[in-house]
């Protein structure tokens, strides 16, 4: 028995509900999965090719801790070009191993023991555990389908206590597909300013905004100095497996984040950085062709999925970003877990139970439309059959 060596703080955090479900799904043959959380595109060939060339040229060494300066300069140009925000590539920016590392770094740098962090519920699975690992306390704020899963300034403000240090602001949202409007973001900006909170803006899905402004939180007046902007290459360029992200923050915060990164990680893999640089450079030159092509494809499948789910009788908020639908299955009388488990056993379709994304996700399931259209339509037939059988 070696568990006496395990810290109770770590042991107390349960493993991701998604992984638990994965064990069942993984053993099913012929299952159609709407349970994935990544693009169905392969990284564009010119990007892969740049990484291969780099390997063949013998670029197998470390890079600077913050990442290749040439990549950071491209990121700076990209942020300026797409979101009209300026960051100094030398002092206010670092390249990380996926956006996930950046989230972890920001929390570890900014939280003191007992600090509270407000985060939308349902939300991405890693925020609350990362807050806990960093010694803080996650404070989930329920977002509602009737508000189109947007976070309201009022709800944020009513969750604030003397201990609140930060707000995690992940829009477009996984799993709900919610996108914030400029007006709502401005109201939230007023609240965080009034209470002097840090904002950790996870904008990994920002390129996949189908309706409304593609607005980065840090671009709001006065917000840059209290925002850690987090983004990466996984979703916009279909580069999930490369593990490449970045963080932009005021110099004082970034300096400390880089210190942890320096000691714990060293640097993001060099070939991923080379690939990321190619992705940004080529797309800046050709009007974001790769991004637009995938955006159009997701957008069409989004409409097909919403239509199909509604025709099945499920009430489904029309997602405006990311690549998920988050329909309610409450009318079936089943819990999210029961629905997904039975759907998988009886009709071999994988969806993710909504409560894997926090207690407020109960009564919902997450369905990913980054799925081959014909497979997706077959999945809808099966789901419909399943619902009819209840």
């Amino acid at each position: 028995m070696s568990n006496r060596f395990v810290s109770p703080r770590v042991a107390a955090v349960p493993p991701s509900g998604i992984r638990r479900f994965f064990d069942v799904a993984g053993t099913m043959k012929d299952a159609i999965s709407l349970g994935v959380g990544e693009p169905d595109f392969v990284t564009p060939y010119h990007i892969r090719s740049a990484a291969i060339d780099s390997l063949l040229d013998g670029e197998t060494q470390y890079t600077p801790n913050k990442g290749l300066l040439s990549l950071r300069k491209e990121i700076a140009l990209y942020l300026q070009d797409r979101f009209s925000i300026s960051y100094d590539p030398e002092k206010e920016m670092m390249v990380t191993v996926g956006a996930s590392e950046a989230i972890d770094l920001a929390l570890r740098v900014c939280l003191r023991p007992g600090d509270e962090v407000i985060l939308p519920d349902p939300g991405y699975v890693s925020y609350a555990p990362c807050v806990t690992f960093a010694g803080g306390t996650p404070v989930p704020v329920t977002t509602k389908a009737e508000n189109e899963f947007r976070l309201t300034a009022q709800e944020v403000e009513s969750a604030i206590t003397k201990k609140t240090r930060a707000l995690i602001f992940p829009y477009p949202n996984n799993p709900t597909g919610a996108v914030m409007t400029r007006e709502e973001m401005e109201k939230i900006a007023q609240v965080v300013e009034k209470h002097d909170l840090l904002v950790i803006a996870d904008e990994i899905y920002i390129e996949l905004t189908y309706e409304g402004d593609m607005l980065s939180f840090a671009s709001l007046p006065g917000m840059k100095e209290r925002t850690v902007l987090i983004n990466g290459f996984s979703k916009a360029f279909a580069m999930t497996g490369w593990r490449l992200g970045y963080a932009c923050a005021p110099e004082e915060i970034l300096y400390e984040m880089n210190k942890i990164h320096q000691y714990a990680i060293m640097c993001a893999p060099r070939q991923a950085q080379v690939a990321g640089q190619q992705a940004l450079k080529k797309n800046r030159e050709n009007g974001y062709e790769d991004v637009q092509m995938m955006h159009r494809s997701y957008d069409r499948r989004r409409r097909v999925m919403v239509d199909a789910l509604r025709k099945m009788g499920l009430s489904c908020f029309e997602p405006r970003g990311a690549f998920y639908c988050f329909p309610s299955i409450r009318e079936t009388g089943l819990t999210s877990e029961e629905f997904c488990t039975r759907l998988l056993r009886e009709q071999k379709v994988v969806c993710v139970p909504g409560d894997a994304f926090g207690p407020s996700g109960q009564g919902h399931i997450r369905c990913c439309y980054a799925t081959d259209l014909n497979r997706m339509i077959e999945a809808f037939h099966r789901m419909d059959k399943f619902i009819q059988s209840l």
Binding site: F22, A25, G26, M28, G35, V36, G37, R300, R303
Partner: protein
Amino acid sequence: MQSLKAQILEILSQDCRTPLERVAIMTGANLEQVAQTIDELERDRVILQYSPVINWDRTDKERVEAMIEVKVTPQRDMGFDAIAGRIYRFEEVKSVYLMSGSYDLLVLVEARTLKELALFVSEKLSPLESVTGTSTSFVLKRYKQDGVIFVGESTDKRMAVSP
């Protein structure tokens, strides 16, 4: 934002069997608009035909294909169009392109057997008055056509569930 025409062309170029109802859902246009736009595209000869990409090697049909580089003498006032017309009317001819470079016309020809194809070149193509030379290359293996990769299986390499 793409125009409805551009959206429809992109959708049909990926799968021309996409039902109109689905095209309407995908584009957010109504069914009537979609049908009308497709009619227009057909009438304006933007959409000429709806045909599948077929891997004939997986069928039992015998078939050979060749690309023939053809040098011709252009005709006064008609340029290359007249001679191209003489060539593209043969039913063995699948495609004809006017090319820049060391020859003039690229002709894609399909026949049942090698012999048939050779006879086409020697008896039909070469004897044409304006044709001054041909160079025939046979297709050995098709890797990709019309954006579709023919070799290997495409598999989804993603895990069934991920965050």
